[in-house]
């Protein structure tokens, strides 16, 4: 009861905070960052269901998001964007018939058709269904594979889905490389994504602690044991895959709406990689972790722009030196703390030496023309994400949260790691041979064996 109230209160607080942000000036950057966190959070939580809870590495999430994006875009495209000259490759049939507005009016549901928000709910739902159907089609044959073979198959599926919209036949529905532009952005605004995320979080946390969720985790831990306990492997795997694809489709639709456009470059393999970094950073298998990781990764992407500003070249040399030297210092510190010998290995000398050399070069040639010229480090953010992922994989594979979830009990509940007085008494009783004859017999058994 208290916990539910706390949850409600914090959701209300978050909503209030968002409301205050929307009414104040100069917060558009923060708001779009939040919107992105919500959209990517949905995708990350859904990927987490397969990669974390089910323990299957899936690399095709961008394909499902792409399906969701395209379906939402086609269904929601307003009438004035459906003119022939704007949509050259789109076939007339698709332009005239794939229109949610028309469908609803055809069914006599003008009331719904007049409200763009209600239409969006339906469009997102259909987008999710389309992605889920695809997930079912893709998952059913491929989920009997395991490990990296399955990863490659999902990767291949995702890439096929990315490549197909550009081909002539499929372009009749996707408008080819031009993409679909002019999607109304309602669903991509902060409130929509906020409530969508709330729903997704509610759904996935319910799922995680349901019998299905436990079955998924059983499959992750040991397939054979899970099967022996009566878990239907194929059914549960396909179910998880389909659910995940559904929400990937929804998040794709939200993202397309946020961008007002969708094309094949919107959902490339980098999307999956990005989500992978997010959920690995947060902790594979933890919904809280997926959200935390997404927040960090999106913030790096949105506010990491300063990394790619033009700077004089010596800044690059200097920061390279700083990175190398601090890596050197950090690893030496770790090795000292862990009492590893030798404290400094050859590779550390190389690292430190390179850092010093860079520092020296920067100091010696600080007024040379090639040192003062302006350079721009494009792609630093992606490189940073890649480095983060590699470091997580090497040093902390469980991520920030591990598999733990946030709960109010964690904050307000009794400490479970410190025994209570009652437990202490029980322990004392159990370990006292005079009061507990069972202990003695056990000891005798051990001695005779």
């Amino acid at each position: 009861m208290r916990n539910n109230l706390l949850t409600l209160a914090s959701v209300g607080l978050a909503a209030l905070a968002i409301y205050l942000l929307t009414t104040h000036e100069g917060t558009s950057g923060l708001l779009s960052a939040l919107t992105l966190i919500f959209i990517w959070g949905i995708a990350a939580v859904s990927l987490n269901l397969i990669n974390g809870q089910l323990g299957i590495l899936s690399l095709g999430h961008h394909g499902f998001m792409l399906i969701g994006g395209y379906v939402t875009a086609l269904l929601m495209l307003p009438a004035k964007e459906r003119r022939p000259f704007r949509t050259r490759l789109l076939s007339d049939w698709a332009r005239d018939h794939l229109d949610l507005d028309k469908w609803l009016r055809g069914l006599g549901l003008d009331a719904i058709a007049n409200s763009i928000d209600l239409k969006f709910i339906i469009a997102l739902f259909i987008a999710g269904l389309a992605a889920a159907l695809l997930g079912l089609l893709v998952g059913a044959p491929s989920l009997r594979l395991k490990g990296d073979y399955l990863a490659i198959v999902t990767f291949g599926m995702g890439e096929i889905l990315r490549l197909l919209p550009n081909t002539k036949e499929v372009a009749a529905f996707t408008n080819g490389p031009l993409g679909i532009k002019g999607i109304p952005g309602n669903a991509g605004n902060i409130w929509w994504t906020f409530f969508a995320l709330l729903f997704v979080l509610w759904f996935f946390s319910r799922l995680k602690f349901s019998s299905y969720g436990r079955a998924f985790e059983g499959i992750r831990e040991d397939e054979i044991a899970a099967e022996a306990m009566g878990v239907n492997l194929a059914y549960h795997k396909i179910l998880a895959f389909t659910i995940s694809a559904f929400f990937a489709g929804v998040s794709g639709g939200l993202y397309a709406s946020y961008l007002h456009s969708v094309d094949t470059q919107t959902f490339n393999f980098f999307v999956t990689f990005f989500l992978l970094v997010a959920i690995s950073l947060g902790g594979l298998g933890s919904i809280t972790g997926a959200m935390l990781g997404t927040a960090i990764v999106v913030l790096v992407r949105v506010y990491g722009g300063f990394l790619e500003q033009p700077y004089p070249a010596w800044v690059g040399y200097l920061s390279g030196a700083v990175v190398m030297l601090s890596a050197f210092a950090f690893s030496v510190y770790i090795r000292k703390a862990r009492r590893l010998r030798p404290v400094i290995e050859t590779k550390h000398y190389i690292f430190g030496g390179l850092g010093l050399a860079l520092l020296l070069v920067a100091a010696l040639f600080h007024n040379q023309p090639w040192m003062t010229q302006t350079v721009q480090f494009f792609g630093m953010r992606k490189m940073l994400l890649a480095v983060i992922l590699i470091l997580i994989m090497i040093y902390r594979r469980e991520g920030i949260m591990g598999r733990a979830e946030f709960s109010w009990k964690l904050i307000f509940g009794p400490r479970e790691d410190i025994p209570t007085d009652e437990q202490r008494k029980q322990d004392a009783w159990l370990s006292n041979p005079e009061l507990n004859p069972g202990l003695k017999e056990g000891g005798d058994d051990d001695a005779s064996a």
Binding site: G147, D148, G156, L276, F377, M383, I394, R397
Partner: protein, 387 residues
């Protein structure tokens, strides 16, 4: 033995599929009017070249997978690095002697470090001679004249091999014994890192790769009334590939290190107990794979005349497909798969011009079909996880 007497069902099925394929192909060729014998030859040359390039890259994938069961996603980027190293070796030379000395020290030092860790260079005298050769050779090559493509190829192979070993040492070695999914994720991250590093260091734009050699001169010969046009590179690529394969085969089958490699591929733990330095063997595998990728990269650049930091993406994936088709983990399989994929790609586009937009899709479809229905590939052993 029994397999040869009683061919298994899957063998029969694949033979049947192959036969149907050949019949369909013949029918299509007969039905196309302008598809003459000369064009078949022309396509054959193109396919052979492309297939050899895929085979060279696929070797790196298949060797690494055979040894540590890792799909080295970053292999395509190693291929890209090879092309860029050769590009800079050809365009920036002759260098100022001071710069050349600096590069020689860095490159030579790295190569020597790597070579020392790869081979058991215990004798100081031999090591010294080798070091002298490498340092003097690199310095001499970089300082005095503009490099031709062969010298650039050699330099690039050395540098790329070193890069491959460094990649293994930095990103993959700390994960030895980790779950395979973690290693795969790391490989993907390494691939992204190298792509973006390439864009940062080399610039994102497409550069012309103008190797001014006889290889690029258009040649032609006649078949009856028809003329077949080709360039030297179309002949050289398969030849270089064949030579490299022959050397690799000798190395793996005849030398002690090759034996250690095969032992590690069979069972790393037991090999270690038998005194094989497994880390060394794995690094060596990366070295050889990267050398092959560099050779492929340089020849790919000469063949298509341009390079850019993302050039490794598609060839990498297709070469991986080739390795899977052949049976990942098997060396002859990689070559077979590479050639097969090259032929399929060229002939499909040539015979069915309307399908040319699906060219890249085909590779993925083939990859998925093979993984779903015959994960062991054409000649490979079954490496799917067994419990």
């Amino acid at each position: 033995m029994t397999a040869s007497k009683n061919p298994s069902r899957s063998t029969i099925i694949s033979l049947l599929v192959g036969a149907v394929f050949v019949v369909l192909l013949g029918w299509r060729i007969a039905s196309l009017e302008n598809y003459t014998f000369a064009r078949i030859i022309q396509d054959f040359l193109n396919a052979l070249t492309l297939g050899s390039l895929y085979a060279l890259i696929a070797l790196g994938y298949t060797m690494v997978y055979g040894i540590i069961r890792l799909i080295n996603f970053a292999h395509g980027e190693i291929f890209m690095l090879g092309a860029y190293f050769a590009f800079y070796a050809m365009t920036l030379t002759p260098l100022n002697w001071a710069v050349s000395l600096l590069i020689t020290i860095i490159l030579g030092g790295a190569v020597m470090l790597v070579l020392r860790s790869l081979f058991n260079l215990e004798e100081p005298k031999r090591t010294f001679v080798l070091a002298l050769l490498i340092f003097a050779g690199t310095f001499f090559l970089l300082t005095f004249r503009k490099l031709g493509w062969i010298e650039a190829l050699a330099l690039s192979m050395l540098a790329t091999g070193t890069a491959g070993v460094l990649l293994e040492a930095i990103a993959y070695r700390p994960l030895r014994g980790a779950p395979r999914e973690s290693m795969l994720i790391t490989a993907i991250a390494a691939s992204f890192f190298l792509q973006n590093l390439g864009q940062l260091l080399f610039g994102a734009r497409v550069r012309g790769f103008n190797a001014e050699t006889v290889l690029n001169k258009p040649l032609s010969f006649h078949i009856g009334q028809e003329t077949v046009y080709f360039t030297g590179i179309l002949v050289v690529v398969p030849l270089v590939t064949a030579v490299l394969l022959w050397v690799l085969n000798l190395f793996v089958s005849k030398t002690k290190l090759g034996k250690a490699m095969r032992a590690t591929a069979q069972d790393a733990e037991v090999a270690q107990m038998m005194g094989v330095n497994v880390n060394q063997v794995i690094a060596l595998t990366f070295f050889i794979g990267s050398i092959m990728a560099a050779a492929a990269g340089v020849m790919y650049a000469i063949r298509f005349g341009q390079i850019h930091p993302l050039m490794g993406l598609m060839p990498g994936i297709k070469a991986f497909t080739a390795a899977v088709i052949g049976g990942i983990g098997s060396l002859p399989g990689a070559v077979l798969g590479g050639l097969l994929l090259g032929f399929i790609e060229i002939y499909v586009v040539s015979l069915f011009p309307t399908l040319s937009a699906y060219r890249d899709v085909f590779a993925f479809v083939l990859l998925i079909l093979i993984l779903l229905f015959r994960p062991s590939g054409l000649v490979g052993e079954d490496l799917t996880e067994k419990v």
